[in-house]
């Protein structure tokens, strides 16, 4: 298995778990309306995201090229897959932000204002979604551009 594929698999796992955990913390216990006033939920969410980044960076470090005497673990095809995955993730993030903003507008159009907790949701969810989309796109592209993976 090449380095990019291995990292993408771990990435899906890490950011999938972070997204689920954040979703539970955000939506259970009052949702956006009470989120900004609930320092415990905000702290837990921050800790979850921080754990996600620490786990992700640790994984990047542990799967670095060890080289010298060993077979290559990435090459130009992996770089091409990473480039295309980043492009795909960028588009996915733009669509995600657009969709969330429109959904919030439609949901709160008549109220005229919305709970500030949604800003936290947008910030956290965009981070998770972008990294998750990048990892999934990498796996899909590996499948398309590979013989046996």
């Amino acid at each position: 298995m090449t380095q990019t594929k291995m990292r993408a698999r771990y990435g899906v796992g890490i950011w999938g778990l972070v997204a689920i955990a954040f979703g539970l913390v955000f939506f259970l216990g009052g949702g956006a309306a009470t989120y900004a006033d609930d320092s415990m939920r905000m702290g837990i969410a921050a800790a979850i995201l921080a754990a996600g980044f620490i786990g992700y960076l640790s994984m990047i470090y542990l799967t670095r090229e060890k080289s010298k005497g060993k077979a290559l673990i990435s090459d130009e095809r992996d770089l091409e897959i990473a480039r295309q995955a980043n492009e795909t993730a960028l588009v996915a993030v733009l669509v995600f932000i657009f969709a969330v903003c429109i959904a919030l507008f439609l949901g709160y159009e008549t109220a005229g204002s919305l709970p500030v907790g949604w800003m936290w949701f947008l910030a956290y969810a965009t981070s998770c979604f972008g990294l998750l989309a990048q990892s999934i796109a990498t796996l899909v592209l590996h499948r398309e551009m590979s013989g046996n993976g």
Binding site: T2, A71, E76, R77, D78, M145, S146, G147, N148
Partner: protein, 83 residues
Amino acid sequence: MAKEKIHNQIRKLRFEQGEMTQQELSDQCDCTRQTIIALEQEKYIPSLILAIKIAKVFDKTVDEIFQLLDDGNVEEGIPRDSG
């Protein structure tokens, strides 16, 4: 615009060169075995640098190994410089 593909002779040439393994070829071309597999299955188009490295390993020219396919047909009539 017609969809273009690159057909290649890598698998055939590997067997003609004493059944060279995919790993041996990838080691000589500084790429991964997965890339050789993808090339043989025509799921990946190599960079010019990798194409030249592969051609050097087999002691062939790039266009002897890689042919441009246009709508499923090998493109013909590309003049080659004889001088």
